[in-house]
Amino acid sequence: MRRALLFLASLFLLAGCYDTPAGTGGSTGGGPGMLAGAPAQSFALPRTDGRTDGLANYRGRVVLMNLWASWCTPCRQEMPALERFAREEAGKVVVLGVDQGESAGVAAAFARERGVTFPILVDESEQYGSTYAAIGLPTTIVVGRNGTIVRGIDGALTLEQMRAAVMPALAAATPR
């Protein structure tokens, strides 16, 4: 087995002698911005408080969904503004945090430490992250009352940018 591994290691070294890999197939990239107008997908996941929740439970309300992780520096920097936004807009906008790839304990400890009060989903298998075409963290998705995506934004937002992001969704007529 050792000889085999040495052989494989030498293959890896050889691989470096050649040019960059040649691409095959197409790409489905494009980032969360391209999702505007598409129906918002929902996955039922555990929350940090132990309950099961998902985006579908907030149909009929404007949702600002924030994908984040505790190791992500811009996510940590954005979190106080997100918490303030959630408190200020309570009743008008639902703020839903979705921790990407981490354990419930890590997400819960982070939320406690930062004084986060809005619900946080624990998405260990990164279903929301891949479905919402996140190209980095944090990623913000605004979902309208009718369940369609209004905006998808890559990168940390300020409080003013959060307010502006939900404005079109709040202005849209309530679906019957």
């Binding site: 489905t28 990164e126 075409a133």
Partner: protein, 319 residues
Amino acid sequence: MSARLTALVAGFVAIALVLAQDVAPGAAFYHSWQYALALAVALALMAGYAAGAWRGHDGPVGRRLVLALAGLAVVDLAGLASGLLGPDTATIVGTPGTVAPIPVLGAAAFFAPADADALARGAGSVVLRRRGHSAIELGVGTRRLLGDSVVSLTPRPALYVEAWDARGAHLTVTQPAGTAFLSPVLQFGTRQRITDALTVPVDGFATPAQHRSFRALYFSPRDLAGFPHRIGDPSRPAVILTVADDAGRPLGIALSQGGRLALGGVTLRLTLGTYPALAIASAPDPVALALGLGAFVLGLIWVAALTRLRRRARVAHAG
């Protein structure tokens, strides 16, 4: 060889070439000048014979054969148009759970979410949605005709990665260079030449919380069988993983055919399997094919009927 036989042989060759687009879609040959030339020559041979036969140069049989040849010509033209004007062959590698627009089909492809078990079983599906049409669900091995295209799913190597730190906390897996930044599924969208004779799929992922980046080379059982040393179970695929820290310092190398593995201070659980890619290839227009083949069969029946009548007349005359 008589002109009639030449025209018929040319027609059968044309049918074979055109139906090959449906039977084995996606070959670059269908878009080549050689393919177009072969169909054009077949068409010219059929047209040349048919023109003479219509004027009575080959008797009543030849005149009736014109209908069959017209049908073959329609099939030939459908194949020629598909090869020259149809969409180029494309393979769409979609991340499980994502949607990819397919402009050439006027559709959106929904790649079904897949967990580790689904990947190990090779179970994956794609749903195609087109405005004003019902959704089409494709499974691995199925093929559907959509307008001037054949769509099918082809399995590709995939690796499901789960990672934990030393305390057992689940780690975010990212793919900084992949088609999806946040996905635990590696789809090996690029290939790496590692020796003059061997090119293998390659991909990478990172666990940012632990400042580790991994690179994975995929070896199929066939690749493993070609190595001078026995490597693991040669009947199953394998990956070689290397790990480095943020500064690019190598921290280790390991071989895995699935299961748990500790590397670079990270515990990994790897599941090797397949996830389908959507293959799109041009196809001859089905209406033209049906009409052409229908006319061909009718023409043959017409010729057969004439031959039978003549034989009866000969028998009656002899009696």
